[in-house]
Amino acid sequence: MAIIMHFYNLIIPIENLQKCKEFNNLEKIFSRYNPKAMGVIVLHDEYLFKDGAMNYLDIEDEIKFWEEQGLKPTKIIDGKKYWDELCVVDAINGPTLPCEWLEFVCDKKVGTYVYLKGKPIGKIVGRNKF
């Protein structure tokens, strides 16, 4: 499965969420949000969880939150910075740093979406046809 992208997106593999101190399952995580944000801003498929914001300051707040929960946002490989246990994706340009586990697709009919590398794309979550 895959998830549609809007504005800035924070993507976390659900597997990594299990490492978090407090918010370590989807039920607890969803309790952080206004129910009206569910299915609009907050989306998930079988493998990935997605939050979003319209500016990078809001996204930085979210990164700090997940860092405090125990996730490592970035790592260095050969002197180059990569996203590690989470990833920030710009809805037009893709991941803001390289990310080894995420595939970003730009499709003229569908828009932009992401999916976990190595998994089938399948249904695209958050895409609501007119």
Partner: protein
């Protein structure tokens, strides 16, 4: 592939950035705008009208016209070409940092997202319900400024294919575009 995509759209749209490009993977992509004349030797020496005629001969290429260009056409069709005074309302919703935006504008380097859908901005404002620091900022841009920013490649437009926000568009302003927005905010 991306290079070819940009090349084709570049026939009509010198330096216009598009929201849609062929599929690529997560290796930090960079959207480039390329002038067709940079790629085809002598292209820039052909008179503009002749270039258009050559472009029209490639029927399929017309389908590659960028969404950005379509938006420019929409704006011109809707508001006309005469007046540059017409203001277009755009919105930015923040769940956590609204007072910072009101006080200092969008100071974080990099791109900035605006939407022409108040409903979409509202959704981002209320993402966590009522927090200490949420809000929606409306920004009014002149039609001429927006068209110029799109044409110069400082704004990329993304269509929202979501029934909950019908006809909404997302506008990504690059760092220069962000500074332009900040200058508008300062005047407010």
């Amino acid at each position: 592939m991306a290079f070819i995509g940009w090349t084709l759209s570049g026939i009509f749209l010198n330096n216009i950035k598009t929201a849609y490009a062929p599929t690529y993977n997560s290796t930090a992509p960079v959207i480039e705008s390329r002038d067709f004349g940079d790629i085809v030797p002598g292209w820039n020496k052909i008179p503009k009208l002749d270039r258009l005629g050559i472009g029209l001969m490639f029927g399929g290429i017309t389908n590659k016209v960028s969404f950005g260009k379509k938006v420019v056409n929409e704006i011109v069709n809707k508001f006309g070409t005469g007046s540059s005074r017409h203001l277009i309302k755009m919105y930015h919703g923040s769940a956590n940092q609204f007072s910072e935006i009101l006080e200092n504008g969008f100071q974080k380097a990099g791109s900035l997202w605006l939407t022409d859908s108040a409903a979409a901005a509202n959704a981002y404002q209320y993402k966590f319900g009522l927090t200490d620091n949420f809000g929606v900022k409306m920004i009014e841009l002149s039609k001429k400024l927006l068209v110029n920013l799109i044409n110069a490649g400082h704004v990329v437009v993304k269509e929202v294919l979501d029934a909950r926000f019908p006809f909404a568009k997302e506008y990504e302003f690059d760092d220069y575009g962000r500074k332009v927005i900040n200058s508008i905010l300062k005047k407010d």
